[in-house]
Symmetry: C2
Subunit: 306 residues, 2 copies
């Protein structure tokens, strides 16, 4: 058993295998490895020998590994999840929705003639605009430098209100009402909990501006759908880019399908084709940390349960 | 006459006036100023006293000021144009078109039901992709850091091939055929000259990939329209985002209007609403340079004629 030996189970994915080796790991059998990258669910998870110090799981949410006892059975093993691995693709998607909105891409796609004067009047810019990001986790934090490159300013809203790098200001969620005067657009990227249900409703939408776009890449429940439809219909806001909806899936015939300034992507901001690669990158980053004795990313806390 | 006195003629625009003062200038009459910001055309341009050392014009193309003799009459005056002032808005527009394409926004906007599996398969990412920017002027150079923030790599193609900051490689136009193997997407932002007509035609499009998007924010003549339509119809490339077309304006009933993976914006990447503000920023930057004795931006060369 060498110090950098990693098992890849239950079957070897070539991208992940390559990422392990490139990060300084060495592929090994389960009974002679120090680390295990487990690509499947809780069912079928192997009994671990004392040689295993670290297990990398492939999901961001690892509830099943708690309820099945996998994590509890191995108190001396550090488990890590895939949390954060997909932040970049979701942040890119949020930016794509926001830019498409601000640059009036839906209006342009509907046009079948050269309506320059009319369409030019609908084009805005992210430059010097202020984007309020609700939820300063991996997605929100990853989005900030993308916005900065376009000259936009980010306000972060988080549970704690602790300053977020790159944000011009960070507010605790309790002070959310204070952000509206400065806000041009909002991106919702906070976890869904009972406390965040309908966090953005009629009141909040009413404080936005006729050019404001509302982007939701978190969970449908954070945004009050009826209030959103009313705000869109009355022109209180400019439009909405929704990767998640409430209800979800959005049923055929739902009014959101027919509103002109709504871009719906059916919860596909992190599609399977990109997930594989992003997970391989995440594994590579953790193998490099493991081999070098650094703290791992996305450590699962056995007490907190995530 | 103070060292920082600037005249604003023929009438005071409040945004420009504010930019002058914020940059350290002081508004003054034409006969007591050292600099003049001229907001109109060549016709009506005033006779300049010996007090004027610098004239900022409001257009990027200043041919009229040559042909009318305005520039020739004042050999001791440094003229500057608005060239480069609008690079940021056009670069943002190019990114909006490219991201909308890569994230399959046109397909999503056509959907009227939750087609998750089908649509997820069409979503790509700019991350780790290579975008070849043809034309490394203000727009191309401004686009590079925007792409970098998304994890995309830029190859620059310019007349000289001199290394462009931030690009992973720069090629002279004569070596254009070498870029295709590495290129995922292209952005055309080069000047229209007889030498660049149909620079991207059937051969070049044929070396792209089925996921490739072609963005044109330069002039329609650089891209062979018939070859583009053929490449789109046959699936040789993924799509096109066109702020400029050939012919332009694009006539009603032209086949480009009806192709599913084409986003047409009618030469409105730099709309009047944004132009005003961008010009004010440009004036501010030049006033700050003038006041501090630094070299001015967008200096007009009386010999070269631009």
């Amino acid at each position: 058993m060498t110090a950098n030996s990693i098992a890849l189970e239950p079957s070897a994915d070539p991208d992940v295998a390559e990422a392990i080796v490139r990060a300084g790991g060495e592929l090994a059998d389960l009974d002679s490895a120090r680390g295990l990258v487990w690509l499947a669910g809780a069912e079928g998870f192997p009994d671990l020998g004392a040689n295993i110090e670290w297990v990398q799981l492939a999901a961001a949410g690892v509830e099943d590994f708690f309820t099945s006892g996998v994590i509890g059975r191995s108190p001396n093993v550090q488990f890590t999840s895939a949390a954060g691995a997909y932040s970049r693709t979701v942040a890119e998607h949020a930016l794509a929705l926001l830019l498409a909105g601000v640059r009036a891409i839906p209006d342009h796609l509907r046009a079948r003639s050269w309506q320059q004067q009319e369409l030019a009047g609908r084009i805005g810019t992210l430059r010097d605009s202020t984007v309020t990001i609700i939820g300063a986790g991996g997605i929100g934090r990853t989005l900030i430098p993308m916005l900065a490159a376009l000259g936009a300013h980010a306000i972060a809203v988080s549970r704690s209100g602790k300053p977020v790098p790159g944000a011009v200001a960070t507010y605790p969620i309790a002070r959310l009402p204070e952000v509206w005067p400065e806000t041009d657009h909002i991106v919702i990227s906070a976890p869904a909990t009972p406390a965040t249900r309908h966090l953005v409703g009629a009141d909040e939408l009413g404080r936005l501006k006729p050019h404001s776009w509302v982007i939701n890449v978190a969970r449908g429940s954070l945004l009050d759908t009826d209030a959103l439809i009313a705000a869109l219909r009355s022109g209180v806001i400019g439009g909405a880019g929704l990767d998640v909806t409430d209800p979800e899936p959005l049923p055929d015939g739902h009014p959101l399908w027919d509103l002109p300034n709504v871009i719906i992507t059916p919860h596909d901001s992190n599609p399977p084709s990109l997930r594989r690669r992003a997970f391989a990158d995440h594994v590579g980053a953790n193998v490099a940390r493991f081999v070098n004795g650094c703290e791992l990313l996305a450590r699962v806390d056995p007490v907190m349960g995530y």
